[in-house]
């Protein structure tokens, strides 16, 4: 037994937290070989010495007696929800022998039969090892279960188009007025959680105003200077109402910004909505108001890269004759288009009073202080740039709907109308959009650049295809037909359809699901209705093996072999804070490349996923290809090519250990002196961020769209391809969403006609939990129980009284499709009376997660996995629904 007061070893080891995807730098205390405490690492730009409740609770993640410690084999051939797998402990050799045999069989049948499923919690592994292995094995099939389909297909894609960033967030350090649409940024959960909490607390202290639109009184609403209750799923309508009110009611917009930093002046041909293009260069044209003639968009006389550049004004409104065609700038079309979103019309949709919409638009527009500037110090001396201390921001709450894509664009449009994008005080790309790299190596490098049409294009990105330009729709090869749909990364409505195999047949997919490799996901609970996911999708695989920390509901239902994975405290991860998504705070603090290192050797027979993937690759005879896969991943993920000497040897003549691979990557990014040994001592490497990279808008020659001309083309191509396969026999697509101007579309929850289903329900993110895993941590579970609402169904007291429901009553929530979930009610005033709010991925039932079991409500069981509940533009799932509520026995 360790004597707590006289330990011999007492060391703090620098590494990176892994309880969520924020990647805070931490120091972990090890006393006589036991991890006893975790703190933030003050040297790490992400965290700066603080970490959140989840990171602090990590010792129980490492030592939980319910962790999987040995490889397990399912001995019960039956699969399904609630089936006892009858686990049998096996050796690693037996596990890997079986896995190799199944993978080799699949290789022979068709390697594309491998489907990689992963968790966003371990985002670093997904971006490197998972994708590297997929390339090596030759399969395009993967998904990150709830990541993406619930919270990113819309937001990440659209933020990628508009900011080359994974997300957007106010420049809290200088922002004075923000509009928060259903997201917890700066208030605990999610994005750069700790640093944003610090920044927003400082901002509150100096008088920053935050208006929060949310159906219930979330943490951010409770801290905001105004809470505006809104009907779930209608944020896009509200945003378009604000755009209309700004432009057409108050006449507030940043003409300078729109002229030179967006495609607002691009002339549009009325016949088909396409750009007017110059006959010689084929480039989009604008109307030069000084020379009174059309010019190509990048003609120097009409271009301003830096704020102090001089250029002719170009037309934003009016009608102009070009080559005999009467055409209008896209802004004129937008201005007309949004007129239907009058405050009164929007009130009917959103339940936000018309006067409130009009007032907030005015406040926002005035707070933008259009015309104001600030001088910042850049590498090229002092430069004047616009100062726009306002921002809108959003995330899961606003974007988890069947109108996801257009909602994201509409909310961000509010920023672009007043020029509040990627400049001082405004909405910034979260995580750092622009990276000039460490001076000595020039890596990691990510400076976006304009495409020939002038629009913003990424240099490096989180996954292989950049958000713009859109891919060409192609005949499908993937199990979810993804190749056909350039505006999404993956979808659920195909693979979770009861007609999945018929679909594969029709779309001429020559192979079938074969081996699923699961890395840390509990997709039975994190996607949607558990029965649909299990029966229609997961049970269709011949063989499933899973790297996992616990035997979750997923393993219980469908895994054939469970491999005991190392947790973040037991493994090396060479790149954690890059690609920078939620792993850097916005603003002027340094860049930091963080690694993870084992604080203790993997306990029991646990093994690190990364090491095992090397082992599996070797056994499958694809080790050289795996090295190539990893080499190939580096340039786009981590910004910049690998030097020849640091590349993994692809012919298989050299066997690289995982530590060697980590060492090569960090040396390649930061020079030989910053090798893995350097990182083991410090945990990270930091270098200064340039101010012109923080506020990059007026240093970059690119524009962003307010008119999405290219969606029209893409939609036409997709629908043509779809019709070639007579896809409508399976799904009736609304191709009209592929158009140039933003609109709001109702979700099924808004159009439900049966009066029995009279309540809207949705889920929110609790600060003590991330995804589904933390529910098993007893410290976090205890915190969640301390909160009056986390494990309950929040319900307004008057609504409950009218239904005869009392505080603490057990109730059923049943959706129109007959799916229902059970929970207990906590009555309150802080919720719009027609709504019911549920937190987190709760309501576990698996017997191997006893702490999590029976706590909270399994909201996702109400999420339907069909096209009707999917955004046709981005394939984001609909995370709200109509229910009836009644007492349970």
């Amino acid at each position: 037994m360790v004597d707590a007061t006289t330990t011999k070893e007492d060391v703090w080891i620098p590494t990176c937290c892994g309880q969520c995807y924020c990647m805070c730098g931490v120091k972990v205390r090890r006393q006589d070989g036991i991890v006893t405490q975790i703190e933030g690492n003050p040297d790490a730009p992400t965290g700066r010495g603080s970490i959140c409740v989840k990171g602090l609770a990590s010792p129980h993640l490492l030592y939980d007696p319910y962790r999987v410690n040995y490889p397990l084999k399912r001995t019960n051939p039956e699969k399904g929800l609630g089936v006892d797998p009858k686990w049998e402990r096996i050796s690693w050799d037996e596990a890997l022998d079986t896995i190799t045999e199944k993978l080799k069989e699949c290789q022979e049948r068709d390697p594309r039969g491998v489907f990689f499923q992963a968790t966003t919690t371990q985002a670093s592994e997904i971006r490197f090892g998972v994708i590297g292995f997929m390339k090596a094995f030759g399969t395009p099939n993967y998904w990150v279960s709830g990541g993406g389909l619930h919270c990113g297909n819309g937001a990440h894609f659209m933020n990628g188009i508009m900011h080359v960033a994974w997300s957007i967030i106010p420049d809290f350090a200088h922002c004075n007025y923000a509009l928060n649409f259903g997201c917890s940024k700066g208030h605990g959960a999610g994005h750069v959680a700790v640093m944003n909490a610090t920044q927003v607390a400082d901002a509150r202290f100096r008088g920053f105003k935050n208006v929060v639109f949310d159906p219930f009184m979330s943490a951010q609403a409770s801290k905001g200077h105004e809470w505006v209750p809104i009907r779930v799923g209608t944020d896009g309508a509200l945003a378009l109402g604000l755009v209309n009110s700004l432009i057409n009611e108050h006449g507030i917009y940043d003409a300078e910004y729109l002229m030179y930093k967006t495609n607002a002046p691009y002339l549009i041909r009325p016949s088909d909505g396409r750009y007017m293009r110059d006959k010689e260069t084929n480039l989009p044209q604008v109307w030069d108001l000084v020379d009174n003639k059309p010019k190509i968009h990048n003609d120097p006389s009409v271009t301003r890269v830096e704020y102090e550049d001089e250029a002719h004004e170009v037309a934003l409104t009016g009608t102009y004759n070009v080559d005999g065609v009467d055409c209008q700038p896209s802004f004129e079309l937008l201005k007309e288009h949004v007129k239907k979103y009058t405050p009164e019309y929007v009130e009917k949709i959103t339940w936000v009073p018309a006067a409130t919409i009009s007032r907030i638009a005015k406040e926002f527009g005035e707070a933008a202080e259009i015309g104001s500037t600030v001088t910042i110090q850049t590498e090229n001396g002092p430069k004047k740039i616009p100062r726009r201390p306002v921002a809108t921001h959003f995330f899961r709450g606003a974007q988890g709907h069947t109108n996801s894509g257009w909602t994201c664009l509409s909310i961000d449009m509010v920023n672009h109308i007043v020029g509040a994008a990627d400049t001082y005080g405004s909405a910034l790309g979260l995580g750092g959009t622009v990276q000039d790299g460490y001076k000595k190596t020039g890596k990691p490098y990510q400076i976006p650049y304009p495409c020939p049409d002038g629009l913003l294009k990424a240099k490096a990105w989180v996954y292989d295809h950049i958000p713009y330009p859109l891919r060409e729709p192609k005949p499908p090869t993937r199990l979810d037909l993804h190749d056909m749909f350039p505006t999404s990364i993956y979808n659920a409505f195909t693979i979770c359809s009861p007609k999945w195999f018929d679909i594969l047949e029709r779309f001429k997919i020559p192979y079938r699901p074969d081996v699923m490799i699961n890395f840390g996901s509990n997709s039975v609970m994190t996607m949607g209705n558990a029965e649909a996911v299990t029966e229609n999708f997961l049970k269709k695989f011949r063989f499933i093996f899973s790297f996992q920390l616990y035997c979750t509901e997923f393993e219980e239902a469908v895994a054939d072999i469970v491999l005991p994975d190392a947790c973040y405290l037991e493994r090396f991860t060479p790149a954690v804070s890059f690609p920078s998504t939620f792993s850097h705070p916005q603003g002027e603090d340094d860049w930091g490349w963080t690694i993870r290192q084992p604080v203790v050797k993997p306990l029991f027979e646990r093994r690190d996923f990364n090491e095992v993937m090397l082992d599996i690759s070797k056994r499958c005879g694809i080790l050289g290809k795996y090295y190539k896969g990893l080499n190939d991943v580096v340039p786009i993920r981590y910004g910049g090519d690998l030097e020849e000497k640091n590349k993994l040897v692809e012919d298989g003549s050299v066997e690289h250990s995982w530590e060697d691979i980590c060492d090569r990557l960090v040396r390649d990014r930061f020079g030989d002196e910053h090798n893995l040994e350097y990182f083991k001592k410090r945990g990270l490497f930091t270098w200064p961020k340039r101010k012109e990279d923080v506020y990059w808008k007026w240093f970059n020659p690119s524009r962003v769209p307010v008119y999405f001309e290219y969606f029209i083309d893409s939609g036409e191509k997709m629908s043509k391809l779809w019709d070639e396969y007579q896809g409508n026999d399976f799904f009736k697509f609304d191709w009209s969403r592929f158009k140039a101007l933003a609109d709001w579309y109702p979700c099924p929850t808004h159009t439900e006609e049966d009066p029995e289903y009279d309540m809207h329900t949705f889920y929110w993110r609790a600060v003590a939990h991330c995804n589904s895993l933390t529910q098993q941590n007893p410290y976090l579970d205890e915190c969640a129980q301390e909160d009056p609402h986390v494990y309950a169904v929040q319900m307004h007291q008057d609504t409950a009284a009218a239904k005869g429901i009392n505080d603490g009553d057990y109730v059923w929530l049943e959706n129109p499709q007959g799916h229902k979930v059970k929970g207990w009610v906590s009555l309150c005033e802080g919720i719009e009376p027609k709504h019911l709010a549920i937190a987190a991925v709760a309501g576990h039932w698996g017997k191997y997660m006893p702490i999590a079991k029976g706590k909270g409500v399994f909201f996702n069981d109400l999420v339907e996995m069909d096209l009707e509940h999917t955004d046709p533009l981005t394939f984001n799932q609909d995370i709200c629904c109509r229910v009836k509520i009644y007492k349970a026995d």
Binding site: V53, L56, V200, A201
Partner: protein, 208 residues
């Protein structure tokens, strides 16, 4: 000798439980023991509703009710103002727990695991059990001591260090220039239930 106290800015605090957890992991407190705790409440009728988180801990009162009732001298007020329990002198009568108007004291009869009974204790829980039994003890009164061991090493209490919102300021309230004193003065810090006359040394700044 400094007189230690704390200021909690409710405008900064957003109820994230980092203080609660930092205290747990630093002091290895068993289930249901919260030397640092977060209370959450709601006021007003929809839509004019307010929700507020209130972090609480031992108030280290200048005139502690717990001290008055302690029959053995186990509860002591140190020269630096920190109220502590000497576990070796405590007889476990719980009079102090009843007397404390702030509900800041806890006692457990027996150390209990966070996991269901019948499992071997994990290495961490063995450590935590040992730590608790040696430092705090079972069958006796326990409470926040402002992380006295850390203060003695010129460090900050764990809850202060952990707070992402920098809502907590710890310092010498006798030093009028300390950050804590300045905040209390400038932002009109108030104590909870001043009418009780305990003169708490934990001050709160208004949420709005």
């Amino acid at each position: 000798m400094p007189q230690y106290g704390m200021v909690i800015d409710l405008k900064r605090c957003y109820g994230c439980y980092a203080c609660v957890m930092a205290c747990k992991v630093k002091n290895h407190t068993p289930p249901e023991v919260f030397w640092a705790r977060l209370l959450k409440g709601e006021r007003g009728k929809f839509p004019n509703t307010m929700r507020q988180a209130l972090p609480v801990l031992c108030m280290h009162c200048e005139e502690p009710s717990c001290l008055e009732v302690c029959p053995t001298g186990a509860t002591q007020k140190l020269d630096n103002g920190i109220v502590i329990v000497d576990k070796d002198k405590c007889m476990g009568c719980k009079a102090c727990i009843m007397a404390c108007p702030y509900g800041a004291r806890y006692s457990v009869e027996k150390w209990v695991s966070y996991f269901p009974e019948g499992l071997p204790l994990s290495d961490y829980e063995k450590f935590a059990k040992n730590y608790w039994e040696e430092k705090s003890g079972c069958g006796v009164a326990t409470k926040c001591d402002f992380c006295l061991d850390l203060i003695e090493k010129d460090k900050l209490p764990a809850c202060v260090e952990a707070c992402p919102a920098n809502a907590r300021t710890f310092g010498d309230l006798d030093d009028l220039d300390s950050e804590a004193s300045t905040l209390i003065r400038k932002c009109r810090g108030e104590v909870l239930n001043p009418e009780l006359g305990n003169k708490p040394k934990v001050y709160y700044l208004a949420p709005r």
